[in-house]
Symmetry: C3
Subunit: 315 residues, 3 copies
């Protein structure tokens, strides 16, 4: 990153509060506390950071409202959150540029796989028979796409992410290293004290813009698919068991888990290590607070629950 | 899948309740709720699904007893669970056929490794020196078998599964993507405020028919091996620490964990996120309910415990 | 392992209590309970093992004080813990010798990467552009080092460990299979019911002698790096979120987790599945007992807390 404050303000569609500093050189984006004179920082209105915004040594602060008591130049934009995300994406792509399209000679792509235009496939990645990879998707080193699996456009599998056979991913799906999609659920028959594997043949369907963190799984349905709706974000160490349905734009935060055939409505939040039990449902907008366990009853739409047996939350 | 109902009934050793439909064409197996006229479905006697069994549009229902009020043809078999598992295994093998025997040119197999007849080794899999892989085992893409490790016959390592050096696996062991067998346990010496690694040199022994899920480990013993008995099934996100003994046919369900040197008898169940502490034991047939923590005392044979300090369960 | 008791005593700088047995042949190190006549065993003073020390059939016992009632020969050393660790490291290196230096032909190393002297890079490992790998480091099969990442000397990445781009590791860092360093933290903007990724561009800094277990992450900072101090040991299934600071020689035990921007002082212990919340701090020497949750208040230096809301522990 190396541009002037004026260029930076222009790229964000913002206005520089002090036009005389527009030639200052910006080399990095840093937090308010750590920024120096060649860094830009940002303030998104959180009062816990107000003192830092007043004391920062940053060359300028990206924000969407005047900051009372600030002495550094401001870059005023319409939405500081969006502007900062735009800036961070640019920095990320400079730091770690997307690889050029093409299949690395140390990758293995089955000859029956269909690879869209602009796709990059890294070293030691493996794409099995009849798989389809949508345009511009990025399959990083060591990632795996199983037989017959279909990826939409602009997907990104980080190094070592795994999608087993016959799963369907929408556009812009991101899987982090260690994520596994399409594992058989934990289904066994008990016969004479032994546990006999029940093979699982339903697939997995992930909607557009789904993100799945490291060591999180969406298990393959028993016979019908497990379905995760558009825009759902799953953090690391989470577990979506077989036959679950996850409504659009829901969030599963670290170590959150869903038992088999559980259903979440839209915009549900399972906070850190929250759990919803087998066949349980949580309605639209429900929140299971950190550590809540809804094992023995359902959670209504808009309800917020916490605690081990998920008593209703009362203010 | 494409066969007639008559063929399907014959393959299951079952009887079709209405012989006039034996020529109907079956293309898939689906749940009662989602099956259509070219699908077969199944009913295993669970009363929660009785209404669905009566209303399904499936071409036929596999079951092992008459279903009161059902209007669709039945395929009556001796054991519906076993019949459905047999059918699902067939579907799975059609969907995702086992690869032909052989070593993929992009795999690496050390020349001192012994590879049995019928073994398939996928692209980017690695087999180190002196390892032995039993007949017909399937080592998928990117899986790893360390130096001197011995795998029995018909094992299946899914993509990215890892078995480190000098471990011994029985026959038909299944490891899912992300499973790690033979990691050093978390053993350190404290000296002057520092933690010094105690190397672990005991191996791991997994009995026949053991299954280990994604991101589950069986850690290498300190000097003697960690031992998991025949038929044990370990779900994902579980942890079996160094020097544990797990008795035959026990179950560890999601996020269940065993502290170092803990011992489970036969047919023990550690339900979801149940924990048994260091050096603790649970006798044959014990059940630690979901979230139970047996950290401070042992659990007797046949006992069922729940709660944080694992109080005895009373009805 | 094949040496005489006299040679073994000499290699540990110890003294054999019965010089007449110095020619006995030692083939392995085993626990007191399982050792036989060609095995050496050890006793580190733990009274729970005193009966076993008296009854063992081992050829000799390594210890640092006379054992009352023991009948087997002793190898008396200054520090039995250190002596046993030294012995175990020797056994490990015999069992699983470090590979010779060099880059395996099935690895991929970008031509702009700098690889130090004595480094070994295993099959299907990947080193990206501008990465630096310090002298004598060992990058095992299938491990990944991202663009611009710097590893110190004598690091060891076990099979399948992942370090994403622009991270910095000190000397002697050990990453176990499945560890992921440098993942983007779970940061999203909420806009009109949707979650928009906030790219994370701060790196990760791991100090000398850090160890990270399987399926544990140290997430990339949002703009400033996430920092883990010298000598910190992180067990498996743990989570260090973005912008955390972990003080020197702290321990995180299985399933322990730190929320975003949490800070640990030096020599802190997060016991099994302990959690410290976002922005919370724990002072030097603090202990969060097994399952403690410090979500709503900080933990003082030297304090020991337990329970769900981390009440102070009183004896």
């Amino acid at each position: 990153m190396d541009l002037t404050l004026g260029e930076l303000a222009a790229s964000l569609g913002g206005e520089l509060s002090d036009p005389t500093v527009s030639e200052r050189r910006i080399l990095a984006i840093r937090s308010l506390a750590s920024a120096g004179e060649n860094d830009v920082s940002f303030f998104r209105g959180d009062p816990r950071y107000l003192a830092q915004a007043r004391e920062t040594r940053a060359a300028a602060i990206v924000c969407d409202a005047r900051i009372e008591g600030a002495t550094r130049p401001l870059v005023l934009v319409e939405d500081a959150g969006l502007a900062v995300s735009f800036l961070l994406a640019a920095v990320r792509d400079l730091d770690n540029p997307p690889p050029p399209p093409g299949i690395h000679p140390k990758a293995h792509v089955d000859e029956s796989a269909e690879i869209g235009p602009g796709v990059s496939i890294g070293p030691c990645a493996v794409i099995e028979a009849q798989a389809k990879v949508g345009a511009r998707s990025r399959i990083s080193a060591g990632a795996f796409v199983g037989r017959g699996t279909v990826l939409g456009e602009d997907c990104h599998l980080h190094p070592g992410a795994v999608v087993l056979h016959h799963c369907t991913l929408g556009a812009r799906v991101i899987l982090w290293s260690g994520a596994v999609i399409g594992r058989d659920g934990f289904g066994f028959l008990q016969r004479e004290g032994r546990h006999l594997r029940i093979p699982q043949v339903g697939g997995v369907v992930l909607g557009d813009d789904v993100e799945v963190g490291s060591w999180s799984s969406v298990d393959r349905g028993a016979v019908d698919p497990t379905v995760v709706g558009e825009g759902v974000k799953i953090d690391s160490h989470c577990h979506v068991a077989h036959n679950c349905k996850v409504g659009e734009h829901s969030l599963l935060i670290g170590y959150a888990r869903m038992g088999g055939s559980a259903t979440l409505g839209k915009n549900v939040i399972l906070a850190q290590e929250a759990a919803i039990g087998e066949r349980r449902t949580a309605g639209d907008g429900a929140v299971l607070a950190s550590g809540a366990r809804a094992l023995y009853k359902d959670v209504g739409a808009g309800e917020m629950v916490l605690g081990f047996h998920a008593r209703p939350f009362t203010h």
